[in-house]
């Protein structure tokens, strides 16, 4: 049940290799993962209940990919049953993060307000303060976002887990790996760039065609073309998201192997 190919090499995967593995995983299950992503997007139209299902289905793609990585592939049906049973917990993870974000933002706003009212007269100080504050904010935001990259993964895989625990697991696993995760995200967005360019190309062609077919710039032409471009971006997002999810699964797998010795187990003698 182990991946000897990987176990045989003690070298940690590089960011590029992680992205390649993500792409390979997606390629080998293109249709299944794409349909799951489509279904997830469809649920997004239903408030709250649907959103929980959307997150659960996105995470299901990561779960299935992880199953492939540890050579314990799971059927979509049983995986779906598993993630659906935890759908409210997935939603809670994001709710907690959202609330935390709001709390932090309000705190920062209050600090900013205080600083500005204290140094009301001294413009140079305020300018320097703002520049430093903005740069520090952006860096801190990115660093925190990287640490929270795996936020739903533990909830999708591990036993005995709560939303809060899932968040702290992500924090724990990504410790010392932010640089690598950053590189993974940069490399995968590089690979997605061609697809995004293709989409905007298709969209502009659609617009031109519709407007020339309808012979005018009327509101109906604009409505039809914007409806079509929304449809196209939905399809394309459903095409892209599985790649991001499988890549996330590889990162999770790699960090669990590297930091927690996942797969280091002797054969089971009882069986």
């Amino acid at each position: 049940m182990r991946d000897y190919e990987y176990s045989g090499s003690t070298q940690p995967l590089s960011a590029s290799d992680i992205v390649s593995a993500g792409a390979k995983l997606y390629r080998s299950h293109l249709k299944e993962y794409f349909l799951l992503a489509l279904k997830a997007y469809a649920w997004a139209f239903v408030p709250v209940y649907g959103w929980a299902k959307t997150i659960a289905l996105f995470t299901l793609i990561s779960r299935l990919a992880f199953g492939e990585l540890v050579n314990q592939p799971e059927s979509i049906k049983s995986g779906q049953r598993f993630v659906y049973s935890r759908k409210w917990r997935f939603l809670l993870v994001y709710l907690y993060l959202f609330l935390a974000e709001i709390a932090v933002f309000s705190l920062l706003l209050i600090i900013g307000y205080v600083v500005f009212s204290v140094f009301k007269e001294q413009i140079p100080i305020l300018v320097i303060f703002s520049i430093i504050a903005i740069i520090a904010f952006i860096i801190a935001y990115i660093l925190i976002a990287l640490r929270l990259y795996l936020v739903e993964m533990p909830l999708a895989i591990e036993e005995n887990i709560t939303p809060i625990k899932s968040i702290s697991r992500s924090w724990e696993l990504t410790k010392g790996s932010t640089r690598q995760i950053f590189l993974v995200l940069v490399t995968s967005s590089l690979i997605l760039m061609p697809i995004q360019i293709l989409v905007s190309f298709i969209n502009s062609i659609l617009r031109v065609v519709i407007i020339s077919v309808l012979q005018n710039n009327s509101s109906s032409a604009i409505a039809i073309s914007s409806f079509l471009s929304i449809l196209v971006s939905f399809l394309i997002n459903a095409l892209i998201v599985p790649f991001l999810q499988t890549t996330q699964a590889v990162v999770y797998y790699e960090l669990r192997s590297r930091c927690e010795g996942l797969g280091l187990q002797l054969r089971d003698h009882e069986i």
């Binding site: 182990r2 991946d3 000897y4 190919e5 990987y6 176990s7 045989g8 090499s9 003690t10 070298q11 940690p12 995967l13 590089s14 960011a15 590029s16 290799d17 992680i18 992205v19 390649s20 593995a21 993500g22 792409a23 390979k24 995983l25 390629r27 080998s28 492939e68 990585l69 050579n71 724990e172 490399t187 995968s188 590089l190 690979i191 760039m193 061609p194 360019i197 293709l198 190309f201 590889v250 192997s257 590297r258 930091c259 927690e260 010795g261 280091l264 187990q265 002797l266 054969r267 003698h269």
Partner: protein, 260 residues
């Protein structure tokens, strides 16, 4: 499943070689690195040529070459830039045996379909089709969707891009003195022949990887492994005076020793 795509090649001597394909991630990173270097080189070419032409334009050039001198300056500049752009990949892939600075950095290499290093012809073909592959990023789709990760240039030149094998070297394993001592004892009261080679692979894996593990995970994994070994070799209790880590080390040592 395997994390990397593999490919088996038949050499002209009908030896079968296995390679790990480079993967889209490494290829994209290598390309970006190469383009950064190439962009920098082009900038230098332009700067140097600007300085030279500024020096020459001091009427001296016009005196020698006539009134069309300005066109020549621009023409030569374009020629130098094109030569740099086209020559970069051909030069490096030919003389560095299929590597460019970016490929070297990301540990990948271009080889021919029969496993041999690529020559000038293949490198030139790849470079020639590069603009086509980059038109609407066609190459990306080809690499993503073809089985051997070939872009058009690779298809035409009969090349593949693989991971550079030289990176795999067997790392050293440090074992504590305590384990070396205990190893002698261990053979007396335990029958290690019940362990299979696969089990030793895992123990070795652990010993190599343990320094990267978090302390909590390390304690858990080593204890688990020690208990599993204990069960396999029918040991009643784990030796109390040594840690699970040392126990695993000595099991590993015992396996390494010649059994005759």
């Amino acid at each position: 499943m395997h994390i990397f795509n593999r490919v088996k090649l038949d050499t002209p001597e009908s030896v079968e070689l296995e390679f790990i394909l480079a993967g889209i991630g490494s290829r994209a990173s290598a390309l970006i690195t190469d383009y950064l270097i190439l962009g920098l080189s082009l900038l230098i070419v332009v700067l140097v040529w600007t300085v030279i032409s500024a020096l020459l334009l001091n009427n001296l050039g016009v005196m020698i070459f006539g009134s069309t001198f300005g066109y020549w300056i621009v023409g030569i500049a374009f020629f130098c830039m094109f030569a740099t752009y086209a020559g970069y990949f051909v030069f490096f892939e030919t003389f560095w045996q299929g590597q460019t600075p970016g490929k070297r950095m990301h540990k990948i290499r271009v080889i021919s379909d029969n496993g041999q290093p690529i020559g000038l012809k293949a490198a030139a073909l790849r470079a020639l089709l590069r603009p086509v592959d980059e038109f609407f990023f066609l190459g990306t789709y080809f690499i993503l969707l073809s089985k051997q990760e070939k872009r058009l240039g690779d298809l035409a030149a009969g090349t593949i891009v693989v991971q550079d094998g030289s990176q795999i070297k067997s790392p050293n394993l440090n074992v504590s003195e305590q384990a070396k001592l205990f190893n002698l004892e261990l053979g007396e009261f335990a029958d290690l022949s019940r362990l299979l080679p696969d089990d030793f692979v895992i123990i070795r894996e652990y010993l190599l990887r343990r320094k990267n593990l978090s302390p909590k995970a390390r304690a858990k994994v080593s204890l688990n492994l020690a208990q599993q070994v204990q069960k396999i070799i029918y040991l009643e209790v784990l030796p109390a005076n040594i840690s699970a880590d040392v126990f695993l080390e000595s099991v590993y040592l015992a396996y390494q020793e010649p059994k005759f």
